[in-house]
């Protein structure tokens, strides 16, 4: 598992980093040999980013993330410092001693200050780093071991071997201390400044805003230098916290506006509001296609889908804005196994790809149907509540992460299968109904947030359940009830029902065209009757259900053991955070 860094924006804004480094270097009391302030002359982050490898993801939630990475850096970054040093050793020695017992030389301790310039280059880092990201508390980056392998120190005293060796030794030891002790504090402060508006000082904001104004391809988080991993969890919160209005086009593959809309959706879910904004330029998980799975590079797939953006973004990584952006920024060349912890699981692509290919083969309607069919709540959960999607993410990781990320990833990967599995087995004999039911059941999660008709009240999951994605515990007792009332109903009535039940869900199919055609948001909840192509839609839905069921069955065969785990996990979680959509 590795990351792909978009290193160039991080290089662009080093002025603030330089100032921060200068102030932090001068804050601590300097040894007496350094007479003047230490000024950072030049800071160049180099052209190659560090290589990160995820070892373990310990905690993944909407507003927090914790992971262990293996980092290695062999780049050409360099740092130049400028200061003045005292050349008279007697002076520095006597200046720190009490004058009572000092020999008090007449003139032998007079000082001579020499300007000094030091360049640190050829920095080789390799170590394990623990990254903890929390929305409230910022980012904490801690090195488990001493990461500094080697360093080249060149200074104005290079012609004197004694001084050169002394400088090399001293600076190396100081840098080790810096990495282990000071760097986490600096990064923490920097992250607090970035993430929390209340922590942000006016000065910090103005330069960042100025920067965003200057450069078109803005990465709003570019000014956090040396934070490649920040983009991991940043986009989620950062988009809502920052007040940048211009949606970045090139680097940030998520749109600020969409993030705001996602936030609005989240809020609407929580407040039972009927307002659900449509998302433009987004990729829904349901649209992931198998073809896209092969070019897993989000960087590739996302722009690929950009032109046909409205609904046909069907890359796995891009089913949620954040997950798409994060991998696009941070992930390396896609590979199936490299993806899982982020966005999807091995089985998921297949599931999604089915839908997406189907959607691609047809226009408009197909996509709409697919969304409706596959995971109404889930997609919604993804789209409407990006936070919860990501929360679903870590939540899936939470119960399943028992230590080895691989296992958890696999578990997560199978979660999708499990979800479909759990949803579909009752459906398999009656695919259509089951599908409906599954769609209904999937709708159940958001139903808890919405006004629900009395008929479906039984279907409502426990009110304290903030899990917005369908789960086995929610749905297992329900299906029968769900099935029977709904089965005999004609489609339109069912649709109506589902409309009542699952406003957001029903909203989905009309929503898609809306987002594509930029319909007004106000028309969202009320255009249910406008669902077009009813018969085709139903047929397509049935086909999708069949395919899903098949895939799920395959997954189930492959991983039968997980079901127990997952049920266990769900039993544990009860009313805990929402697992991801794919974890039923």
């Amino acid at each position: 598992m590795a990351f792909n860094f978009n290193w160039s924006p991080l290089i662009a804004d080093t002025d603030r980093v330089r100032e921060m480094l200068t102030s932090s270097l001068n804050k601590s009391p300097k040894p007496p040999i350094i007479v003047d302030d230490i000024i950072v002359n030049e800071l160049n982050l180099g052209s190659t980013p560090p290589e990160l490898e995820i070892l373990e993801v310990g905690d993944l939630a909407e507003d927090k993330f914790r992971g262990i990475f293996k980092m290695s850096y062999t780049g050409d970054a360099y740092l130049t410092l400028k200061t003045r040093v005292q050349a008279n050793p007697l002076n520095t020695y006597l200046s720190t001693k009490p004058s009572f017992a000092s020999p008090q030389p007449l003139a032998a301790s007079s000082g001579l200050t020499i300007p000094l310039q030091i360049t640190l280059s050829d920095i080789r880092l390799s170590g394990f780093v623990i990254l903890v990201f929390s929305k409230q508390k910022g980012i904490t980056l801690v090195f488990r071991n001493d990461p500094l392998e080697s360093l080249k120190v060149s200074s104005t005293f290079d012609s004197i071997p004694f001084v050169r060796d002394y400088l090399q030794k001293t600076i190396e030891s100081q840098l080790r201390v810096l990495f282990m002790e000071d760097l986490p504090a600096i990064i923490h402060r920097l992250s607090l400044r970035m993430f929390s508006p209340e922590h942000q000082s006016a000065e910090a904001q103005d330069p960042s805003k100025a920067n965003t104004d200057e450069r078109a391809p803005i990465d709003p988080f570019a000014s956090s230098a040396e934070q490649p991993t920040d983009s991991f969890g940043q986009p989620l919160e950062g988009g809502t916290l920052f007040s940048h209005d211009a949606p970045s086009e090139t680097y940030a593959s998520f749109s600020q506006k969409n993030l705001l809309r996602l936030a609005a959706l989240t809020e609407s879910q929580r407040t039972l509001s009927l307002f659900t904004p449509g998302m433009r330029d987004t990729v829904y998980r349901a649209w992931a296609s198998s073809a896209d799975r092969n070019d897993m590079s989000n960087g590739i797939s996302t722009p690929l889908h950009r032109p046909t953006l409205s609904r046909i973004q069907s890359t796995l990584g891009s089913h949620s804005a954040w997950s798409s952006s994060a991998p696009s920024q941070a992930s390396e060349t896609p590979s199936v196994h490299s993806r899982p912890s982020l966005a999807s699981f091995p089985s998921a692509p297949t599931v999604y790809s089915l839908g997406s290919t189907a959607s691609r083969s047809r226009a408009g309607r197909k996509r709409k149907n697919r969304v409706v069919n596959l995971r109404k709540e889930k997609v919604e959960g993804d789209v409407s509540d990006m936070a919860s999607v990501s929360s679903g993410y870590p939540e899936s990781a939470n119960p399943s992460a028992t230590g080895s990320t691989e296992a958890s990833l696999h578990e997560d990967a199978a979660a999708v299968a499990r979800e479909g599995e759990i949803n579909t087995p009752p459906r398999s004999p009656k695919k259509k109904v089951g599908f409906q039911q599954s769609s209904d059941t999937i709708r159940l999660a958001p139903d808890s947030r919405r006004p629900v008709t009395p008929r479906n009240s039984t279907l409502v999951p426990p009110p304290d359940d903030d899990d917005q994605t369908p789960r086995a515990s929610m749905y297992l007792p329900i299906p029968d009830e769900q099935k029977t009332p709904q089965k005999p109903e004609p489609r339109p009535s069912r649709q109506r029902l589902s409309r009542n039940q699952t406003l957001p869900d029903r909203v989905k199919p009309p929503e898609l065209p809306r987002s594509a055609s930029d319909l007004s948001l106000s028309s969202l909840p009320f255009s249910i009757d406008g669902s077009s192509g009813g018969i085709l839609e139903q047929a397509w839905m049935m086909k999708m259900a069949n395919e899903i069921a098949r895939k799920v069955a395959e997954e189930k065969v492959r991983r039968p053991a997980w079901r127990s785990d997952e049920e266990e996990g769900f039993g544990r979680r009860g009313g805990a955070e929402a697992p991801p959509a794919y974890v039923s």
Partner: protein, 420 residues
């Protein structure tokens, strides 16, 4: 102004006939007195007493930090007969200004320090013990002086502080004064510093009983009205592998010199390329000027500092004014006791220092101020007030006032208005 303990120490040296000026370390003492006077920092109250001829104590209370203070005790085996009443102290002894060099003496010829012990003539071996405890910082200073022989003085200075490496350090200095020349050897346990100093006085040799005024100059450099001294020092620390050397030259006019007394010094640090030259002149009985120029041949850094000192003498009282009128102008008049001293210094960075030391009704007051003219928005203000009061008026140590006349209380306090 000298603290009371330093004043006692000076008295000890004077009474035991040890010439402190005949040392390389005090080559630039005049310039240092006129230019590097300490401006008091914060409020500080000194209460000191010479409890007996052999014992002195002093307590200080200051305002650095929240509160800081120290207690110090001093014991000498040589009974000191010095005035310790604040009203009786001669301000000239307390305030160090332009220094007139004492005449060189031949220590071996001194018979004043011999005593009879067990029927044999022995030289006095005076000792002095001094200890000071700083209370908030819990650091201890100790000093031990011992006059080993007429020409040797051993000095041990120790500092014990938890914050120092090895808990403290000891400095041992062995000073030899042979009149014509003097040497010092020192050793410090802190980083094993070894040092040596030497000073050689040209011209008058106290070992030969020539009178300078009547002697014809033997060579152009034999300036009888003045004394040319040259010295050097060297330090080496095997632990730090560091060291330093310096050399210096001084020419001072002796009191028989007609004209304004002046002192010129030049010190060189060849390793660091530092040159420092100073010129001090006593323009009148109450006025002295000094200027110092520092230059570094490697880094071309230079500094200039100018200072002056103005003494305020007591005006003769009206009762004796008729007698003053009878004095002829060419008669040598004894200088009246000084009432106050004003010192000022300016350097080329715009830093100004002012110090006013006076006696106010049994109190010795010292007010100081330091300014930085380049920083318009911030001017450091230091005001130091040192009052010394008579025992009956002393509030703090009333017990001392009950005892004999030797027991005096010299209370000094410094007050600082630093607006940093």
């Amino acid at each position: 102004m000298l603290e009371f303990m330093d004043y006692v120490l000076t008295a000890f040296h004077a009474q035991s006939r040890w010439n402190r000026d005949n040392s390389y370390a005090s080559l630039t003492a005049t310039a240092a007195n006129l230019l590097d006077f300490p401006v008091p920092n914060g409020i500080r109250l000194h209460v000191s007493a010479l409890s007996s001829a052999n014992f002195a104590s002093s307590y200080t209370l200051g305002s650095r930090g929240v509160v800081d203070g120290s207690l110090s005790y001093l014991y000498t085996s040589l009974g000191l007969s010095i005035p310790s009443r604040s009203s009786a102290l001669h301000l000239g002894n307390l305030v160090q200004g332009y220094r007139h060099l004492a005449a060189l003496q031949q220590p071996e010829n001194l018979r004043l320090n011999e005593i009879l012990r067990n029927g044999k003539k022995e030289e006095r071996r005076d000792a002095l013990l001094y200890g000071r405890l700083y209370l908030p910082t819990s650091s201890l200073e100790a000093l031990y002086l011992r006059r080993i022989s007429a020409t040797r003085l051993l000095r041990l200075a120790c500092v014990s502080d938890g914050t120092l490496p090895n808990g403290g350090s000891i400095l041992a200095v062995l000073q030899n004064d042979f009149g014509k020349y003097s040497t010092e050897y020192l050793y410090s346990t802190d980083s094993s510093l070894i040092g040596a100093r030497g000073l050689y006085n040209f011209g008058y040799d106290p070992r030969s009983p020539d009178k300078p005024s009547g002697r014809t100059p033997a060579h152009p450099w034999d300036h009888q009205g003045g004394r040319l001294s040259a010295g050097a020092e060297a330090y080496f620390s095997p632990m730090n592998k560091s060291g330093g050397i310096s050399t210096g030259l001084r020419f001072t006019t002796l009191p028989i010199h007609t004209g304004f007394p002046y002192t010129m010094t030049l010190t060189i640090n060849p390793l660091m390329g530092n040159l420092s030259s100073s010129y001090a002149v006593k323009a009148g009985p109450n006025l002295a000027f000094c200027s110092r120029f520092d230059f570094n041949v490697y880094s071309y850094e230079s500094d200039v500092m100018i200072g002056m000192e103005l003494w305020q003498r007591q005006q003769p009282s009206t009762e004796v004014s008729w007698a003053n009128a009878l004095l002829r102008s060419d008669w040598k008049r004894a200088e009246a006791d000084p009432n106050g001293v004003l010192k000022a210094r300016v350097d080329n960075h715009g830093k100004v220092g002012l110090l006013w030391e006076c006696r106010v009704k049994e109190l010795l007051v010292s007010l100081g101020a330091g300014f930085d003219l380049k920083k318009r928005e911030r001017m450091l203000g230091n005001v130091g007030v040192e009052p010394a009061s008579d025992p009956p008026d002393a509030i703090i140590f009333g017990a001392y006032s009950l005892q004999g006349s030797r027991k005096q209380i010299v209370a000094e306090c410094g007050y600082n208005l630093a607006s940093k």
